[in-house]
């Protein structure tokens, strides 16, 4: 019984806290890279608590429903990850949650939210197929879609799937809303088409979306951890290095348009994945 309860509690309560903490560290490191001091590490928590205390001004009922649905879907995806469930199931639940954000944005008449929602859909179109290919690679190597069998696999997956890990980093950059892929909305103090897909979410609903985002960060970093599952030190090093590379990319690149994103991510992602998958099948 405790084998079920512990992962559920960790997934529901510890994961968002760690996600918020990572977000705070992210803001400090970004500020240091720009020659600034940056906010305190607890800043994301201050922001979210403040947002919960604001007046709730939902544009319509659907928007509120969509914000709650996104949070619930993201939380379920993380809990399933900690329960070491099926990778494909987790990806689909996560994608369903992301679609709810888009639907909430489309339910308002603001042109900024509409354009942001369309761009968000294009971002999902860019990285979701690549995530499926990464999972296909993991399946070809370990013979199972279960996270449990990945964690019990004898050697680090990154030795056999190095290119697929690079593909996962692309997906991570898009999912974290980092440059050059922060088209639909941008994190921290940046502005893009006002606030893009999040323009009409305000107050408590924005807070829900922010907590959902923390869950997503943990989920994607969890995917990274699959690639070096044999030792704890390996997992932690891999995650820290990957996240640092994300911040470096974010601070050294400019925002590009969606045409570039779609063609670049698909061209690079599909070619790198197919090289790696061919290597697995033929090698």
């Amino acid at each position: 019984m405790s084998q079920i309860i512990t992962p559920v509690i960790v997934g529901l309560f510890v994961a968002p806290l760690v996600g918020g903490f990572i977000n705070g560290m992210d803001r400090i490191i970004t500020a240091r890279m720009q020659g600034r001091i940056g906010p305190p590490v607890l800043q994301p928590f201050f922001d979210v608590i403040k947002l919960f205390g604001k007046e709730s001004m939902a544009v319509n009922v659907w928007q509120a429903f969509c914000a709650y649905s996104y949070l619930v879907a993201s939380a379920i995806a993380v809990v399933l990850f900690f329960l070491q469930s099926d990778l494909l199931l987790i990806i689909f639940i996560q994608a369903a949650g992301a679609v709810f954000v888009v639907m909430g944005a489309l339910s308002s008449t603001s042109p900024f939210s509409q354009v942001g929602a369309h761009r968000e859909l294009l971002q999902m179109l860019s990285f979701e197929p690549l995530l499926i290919l990464v999972i296909a690679g993991i399946y070809l190597e370990t013979g199972s879609f279960k996270i449990h069998s990945v964690y019990t696999w004898g050697q680090p997956l990154i030795i056999k799937l190095p290119f697929l890990f690079v593909v996962l980093v692309y997906a991570l950059t898009i999912k974290l809303r980092k440059s050059p892929f922060d088209l639909s909305t941008s994190h921290h103090g940046h502005q893009e088409i006002v606030k893009g897909v999040l323009t009409d979410y305000s107050g408590p609903f924005l807070a829900l979306i922010e907590i959902g985002h923390w869950f997503d960060v943990i989920l994607i970093l969890g995917f990274c951890s699959l690639f070096w599952s044999t030792s704890w030190i390996g997992v932690i090093c891999l995650i820290i290095i990957t996240y640092f590379i994300e911040l470096l990319i974010d601070n050294t690149t400019a925002r590009m348009n969606w045409r570039w994103m779609l063609s670049y991510v698909w061209a690079m992602g599909l070619s790198l994945s197919s090289i790696n998958l061919l290597w697995l099948i033929l090698g």
């Binding site: 940056g38 201050f46 001004m57 606030k195 107050g203």
Partner: protein, 168 residues
Amino acid sequence: MITKRIHHLRAKIMTHCRKNSPWLLHYDCGSCNGCDIEVLACLTPVYDIERFGIINVGNPMHADILLATGTVNLRNKKVLENLYEQMPFPKVVVAIGACGLTGGIFREAYNVIGGIDKVIPVDVYVPGCPAKPEAIIDGVVMALEKFDKISRMPNAGMPEASGEQRHD
């Protein structure tokens, strides 16, 4: 007794978070851009107001503090009112610069209504032509003190123009 204490603690945490995470909305009513450049100077690495959790947002629905500069005229009056109405409670307004306070040298012009407080309630006045970035940051910090007074209920926290004058 215990519920009262919990309520008190909750209000304390909320006030702390509000004071440490003010998101700014900056609106130029028709200023000469002098004050606007000084507002933007606060956001550069020199002053780095993100240290205090301050973020410049472009969206009134996400904003807590409205920084308004310049004279209000018959045209931009509606825009200013609209922006103010779109901001969810609790919210505070900081008027910046001689024009934002009284209409400045343009106050006699036929199309000018006057300062920001002719249209929306203003909480803090920051004088100067243009106002210095240090004075603007000071004004924002004074505006944050307002969050102490605003209670948790959104409607009870209707901000009224108390007109605190900032002296340099």
